[in-house]
């Protein structure tokens, strides 16, 4: 480790620069929480103070729909009812359905492509891969039209349909892993008379737990924060996910005087699950993301 010792004098500077970057990354998030905890009327005077003038959970109560519209209005919010509790539920449904089923169906396809012998296997794989190349917006226009033709606008069916059966990255990611599993493992099971389904369920899925967990984590983060597609087909408040609800809340606030404390409370609420994830699975999250770069 000679080069480590050589550059010791630069370490102070290096730490200073790193701390600056940490501050750049985290200060905005601190301001989000600070604003969310500030009384609505104090927001005009709190300025650059790093602590809220008087801490309150009022804004969280407001955006969770625990106060009446009138109380809300008096406090400086809008009369429009905002219900992030419902949006929170919708986001859980949206994320959960897609992550569970896309992972399962993609794993099945990835296993067949990695292991089974059938005609058109490579063609199918390259077609699946090509899906990664197409910009979202190209597909969103005809997919929106299709969902509209099916009468699925503003339903969970319409929201999850395009992603629930197939995800190009999921198939690609799992295929890479399945290819590395020694063939002998499955072959001995096959000789014992196990079907491919038994092998897949009882052998392949259990030993693939680490990459499956990585994929589930990456997909969960992505779907939880997803905006564009839900913004197109899920505008009705019954199916609105958090990111869409936040954007709508923003457009509802009176022109010129946005309800900043309410908005920041909503933004904080939408972000809390991700912070919990980082708190409990921090190491796993970091490793998963580091791994995602090596496609």
């Amino acid at each position: 480790m000679t080069h480590h010792r050589r550059f010791q004098p630069g370490r102070v500077l290096a730490w200073a620069v790193l701390l600056f970057f940490m501050l750049f990354s985290l200060l905005p998030i601190w301001i989000m929480f600070k604003t969310a905890l500030t009384y609505p009327k104090d927001v005009f005077t709190s300025g650059t103070s790093l602590l809220p003038a008087g801490t309150t959970l009022l804004n969280f109560e407001r955006v969770l729909g625990l106060l009446s519209a009138h109380e809300n209005y008096i406090l400086g919010g809008t009369e429009a009812s905002i219900n992030f509790a419902l949006a929170l539920r919708n986001t859980v449904i949206y994320t959960g359905l897609i992550v569970i089923f896309q992972t399962l169906f993609s794993a099945m396809a990835a296993y067949a492509i990695a292991r089974l012998r059938f005609i058109g296997r490579n063609l199918l794989f390259y077609m699946f891969l090509s899906a990664l190349m197409i910009p979202q917006i190209v597909l969103f226009i005809p997919n929106f039209i299709l969902i509209r033709e099916l009468g699925w606008l503003n339903t969970f069916a319409g929201l999850v349909a395009p992603s629930i059966l197939f995800g190009p990255f999921s198939v690609f990611f799992l295929r890479q892993f399945f290819l590395q599993i020694p063939k002998e493992l499955e072959e001995s099971a096959r000789i014992d008379g196990a079907s491919f389904f038994t092998v897949f369920w009882r052998l392949i899925l259990p030993i693939s737990w680490p990459p499956l967990a990585t994929l589930i984590l990456l997909n969960s983060i992505q779907m939880w924060n997803d905006f564009f597609w839900p913004f197109l087909v899920g505008r009705n408040s019954h199916v609105q996910v958090l990111s869409v609800a936040l954007q709508f809340f923003q457009t509802q606030t009176p022109e010129g005087i946005p309800d900043w404390t309410g908005l920041m409370a909503g933004a904080a609420l939408a972000s809390i699950p991700v912070f919990l994830l980082l708190l409990f699975l921090g190491r796993r999250v970091v490793q998963s993301i580091q791994f995602s770069g090596f496609k």
Partner: protein, 311 residues
């Protein structure tokens, strides 16, 4: 490989055709069909079919209310001769130029720093926080921080004597402000990807070079950068493709304004399709975007030799 019981001679003579069919379809055709069926339906209905349909719609005039009218290539002609399309392309390109160099250089610097001074997973976890948030949250956050009257950063700038800045509200500063928002969100993420690349470079390479008396900058230029190239190309290609498609930040912060200063191509397509209901024209624009990205990706892979590693 004993996959199936050995057939008797009687079975062979009775089922030659089926055997031939089976060897043509592949030994595991039947189970494979079941395994790939759900994903293949998903791919066919929501990727392949819409891709073809997007192309077909782009040759029509369609407002969703009356049946589509075939108009040939006129949507493409209109787009290529309209100033609004070229304006959007210019804004998008400018945005990529604001975004990518700063983001990539800072992320590289950050990755090298973290790699050199701390292996703590928590430092990396904290740097990842902005990436883990929704881009809607990120947009709202910077809209608030850069707010001309009440924003934290703006008050700070005013205290330093520069006067309050309009940021998202001015034609000059809006696009850089959108870039700032996205640099903030993706800096840590890109740094972590670079960090992972740095970890894969064996320490002995550095030690050997250090013994030869190579300085810090030489080490970085001669060793780190070339060995990091595959990761660098991956990050560059994906983040440029992502930047070309910036949308949610625009929805939250500027909606293409002020005075079309942030009218990026995807916002343009979105408005044409979902606000003006010009499905044909919007589809043509989206196909043009696809072509631009495709050419760009191929060129980048060529010039940067992304597939090869020097390691």
């Amino acid at each position: 490989m004993p996959q199936a019981p050995i057939p008797t001679s009687a079975q062979i003579s009775v089922q030659p055709r089926r055997r031939r069919l089976k060897s043509w379809l592949g030994q595991d055709f039947t189970p494979a069909l079941t395994f790939v069926l759900p994903a293949t339906i998903g791919f066919a209905v929501f990727y392949l079919y819409p891709a073809i349909r997007a192309l077909l719609i782009s040759f029509t005039d369609w407002n969703l209310l009356t049946p589509p009218q075939y108009v040939g290539a006129s949507n493409y002609q209109t787009a290529l001769s309209s100033s609004s399309f070229w304006h959007s392309m210019e804004v998008t390109a400018l945005y990529v130029l604001y975004n990518i160099p700063i983001q990539t250089i800072l992320a590289l610097l950050l990755a090298v720093l973290v790699h050199r001074i701390s292996r703590s997973v928590w430092i990396r976890a904290l740097l990842l926080v902005p990436y883990l948030l929704s881009s809607v949250v990120a947009g709202l956050l910077w809209l608030w921080i850069l707010n001309p009257e009440l924003g934290f950063l703006n008050i700070l700038i005013a205290h330093l004597g520069f006067g309050s800045q309009p940021f998202f509200g001015s034609t000059q500063q809006a696009l850089p402000s959108v870039a700032l928002t996205n640099i903030w969100q993706y800096l840590g993420f890109n740094a972590i990807l670079f960090y992972a690349g740095l970890q894969s470079i064996p320490n002995e390479v550095y030690e050997a070079a250090a013994i030869d008396g190579a300085g810090e900058w030489t080490l970085f230029r001669r060793i780190t950068l070339p060995l990091l190239r595959p990761v660098l190309v991956f990050v560059l290609v994906t983040s440029i493709i992502g930047s070309f498609q910036v949308f949610s930040t625009i929805v939250v912060t500027t909606q293409g304004g002020p005075a079309d200063a942030t009218r990026v191509i995807v916002w343009d397509i979105y408005q044409n399709a979902f606000q003006f209901l010009k499905m044909g024209y919007a589809s043509a624009l989206s196909i043009l975007l696809f072509v631009v990205l495709l050419i760009f990706t191929i060129l980048q892979m060529r010039f940067l030799r992304g597939g090869e590693s020097d390691l």
